[in-house]
């Protein structure tokens, strides 16, 4: 496995009209899958856009795949080895899944028709869309459209794969199938997976970076992050008002996250979600997770 850093960010700062999206972010990534977690507005999408070379930082140094994307030549070289799935992606009217991925393939310099078609079919098959390749994208379900988006990012087996919410709207069976695709790709490529789905991060990522208000709150292994919640998650018969988050589980017991061993409670194994909640201090996060 290649052990040189594919991504090196030093002191990255980005502001939008007075709002700080990223503040002095330092990050070094090697091949493997890194999960990017954080609440809305934490700066995840901005970070991914900077990594995708579509957005320039206001300050700091970006080095991607060994090149600094300041010259035209370096930019082109990086973009040839890059796959990017933006958070929001539209599809031109009338395009089939095949036509859309082929359009992006042309932009990625697949000029020879036969090899381009072969590659388009390969990536559509990878995301299990081979059967609906001739259907119009706008007629596909939300999850299928997301997979069309993922297919274009996988074109050419990129060395750096940047995925912003790739599993939004994708059903559980497909998510597992996509995890297989990504885990295989992660053996040789550097993958950055920005998501709200902590279970995807727990299942896939060897490393997790938590962003909040433009700064890195945590950078380490999933196991280490989960470890920070050990002894702080309890199952009890009643909700604990002192807990960061508390909800009634399917078994009828209450899961109290961040509580101090309330009476009659028993400790339980924390999840990545628990650790993430505790790290963020539970600010505005409990309602969505407790459901």
């Amino acid at each position: 496995m290649n052990t040189t850093a594919s991504v090196e960010l030093t002191g990255i700062t980005k502001r939008y009209r007075g709002t700080t999206a990223l503040e002095g972010v330092d990050l070094s990534l090697r091949p493997g899958i890194t999960g990017l977690l954080g609440p809305n507005g934490a700066g995840k999408t901005t970070l991914l856009r900077i990594l995708a070379t579509v957005l320039a930082p206001d300050a700091g140094v970006v080095r991607l795949l060994g090149r600094v994307p300041t010259s035209a030549e370096a930019l082109a070289e990086i973009r040839r080895r890059l796959g990017y799935l933006p958070q929001e992606m539209g599809f031109p009217r009338g395009f089939t899944g095949f036509a859309f991925v082929e359009y992006v393939a042309v932009l990625k310099e697949w000029t020879a028709r036969d090899s381009r078609h072969e590659e388009v079919r390969r990536v559509l098959d990878l995301v299990d869309l081979g059967d609906v390749a001739t259907r119009r994208v706008r007629a596909l379900s939300g999850g299928q459209r997301r997979r069309v988006g993922l297919a274009q990012a996988l074109l050419g087996a990129p060395d750096l794969l940047l995925l912003d919410e790739p599993t939004t709207g994708v059903d559980p069976e497909q998510r597992v199938s996509l995890r297989q695709v990504l885990s295989t790709a992660g053996e040789r490529s550097t993958i950055v997976l920005s998501t709200h789905q902590t279970e995807d991060v727990a299942a896939l990522c060897d490393r997790v970076v938590v962003l909040d208000r433009g700064r890195i709150l945590f950078d380490g292994s999933v196991r280490d992050l989960v470890g920070t919640a050990r002894g702080r998650v309890w199952l009890a018969d009643a909700p604990d008002p002192q807990a960061r988050a508390s909800w009634r589980t399917g078994t009828g017991r209450h899961r109290n996250v961040g509580a101090l061993a309330p009476r009659g409670s028993e400790p339980t194994e924390p999840t990545l979600e628990d650790a993430y909640l505790l790290l963020l201090g539970g600010r505005g996060q409990t309602t969505g997770v407790a459901a």
Partner: protein, 273 residues
């Protein structure tokens, strides 16, 4: 019923065409009677050619057939991949088509008004129609694939140029044809084409740095200001004086040179997302 069966080596040789005429004929006779050997010989059929055939069938079925526009462009010797990008422009056309129709409405209104008011309408709108077409051919405001395209090595200037070609070939003849309907235009019916082209190329060149819509908006405001000022100070057609026409030509040529330089450079990261 037979008790003898062909061995695997013979079956493999037969499938490969290497069994020879005697062994081949003998095996064929045997296969007619022996279902077991018929089943076994099927396993010796190489699958690669079958996969190849299936792959070609899928390719034919899944790849969209070239559109009439694509076929025309291919006949004009445009590279196949570029033709595909140009042909995709019509699928983005609803936004610029609306703008084009709105502008055409203004021109028709100008024809109806006639006289100085008609001329003012015409001068304000006609040169900006192709500019609007260029502005709406690419950019975050109109292109759903903009962000993905920005992250690819394909130069935005080349993409926008290809699309613009598709847009201009429809919008320019339309407006030029309509201009003949506006009474009392005189030489203006033709000279407006020069600033229209110069501005279009300028938007193209500037689109490698800025949002095309923003550039077109600034240019449009500037042009409207110039027409109004000319109308107040002297006469409307002053914006198309011979000296200014030379100026438009110079601006257009300079922008074309810049565009040529930028045509092969990947689009720089934007601060506009």
């Amino acid at each position: 019923m037979t008790t003898w069966h062909a061995d695997d080596a013979l079956l493999a040789d037969y499938v490969a065409g290497d069994a020879g005429p005697v062994n081949g004929a003998s095996l064929e006779q045997h296969l007619l009677q022996c279902s077991e050997c018929r089943a076994r010989i099927a396993t010796h059929q190489p699958t690669a050619p079958l996969e190849l055939v299936w792959s070609r069938i899928r390719q034919q079925a899944e790849a969209p057939a070239p559109t009439p526009l694509q076929r025309v462009l291919l006949r004009l010797r445009m590279p196949e991949s570029d033709a595909l990008l140009v042909a995709s422009a019509p699928s983005l056309r609803s936004s610029w088509l609306f703008g084009l129709l709105a502008c055409m409405g203004f021109v028709v209104l100008a024809a109806k008004l006639g006289g100085n008011e008609g001329l003012a309408f015409f001068l304000l709108v006609a040169p900006l129609v192709p500019v609007a077409g260029v502005a709406l051919a690419y950019g975050p405001d109109v292109d759903p694939v903009y962000e993905v395209a920005l992250g690819t090595p394909y130069p935005a200037a080349r993409l926008v140029l290809l699309r613009t070609a598709a847009v201009l070939t429809t919008s320019l003849p339309l407006v030029a044809g309509t201009s003949l309907l506006v009474p009392g235009l005189g030489r203006v019916a033709f000279t407006w084409l020069l600033p229209a082209l110069a501005f279009s190329v300028l938007v193209l060149a500037a689109s490698t740095w800025f949002r095309p819509v923003q550039v077109a908006a600034v240019l449009g405001a500037g042009w409207a200001g110039a027409v109004v000022t000319a109308g107040i100070v002297r006469d409307l057609t002053a914006v198309l004086d011979p000296a200014l026409l030379v100026g438009y030509a110079v601006v257009g040529i300079a922008a074309a040179l810049v565009l040529r330089l930028r045509l092969h450079s990947p689009t720089p990261p934007r601060s506009l997302l």
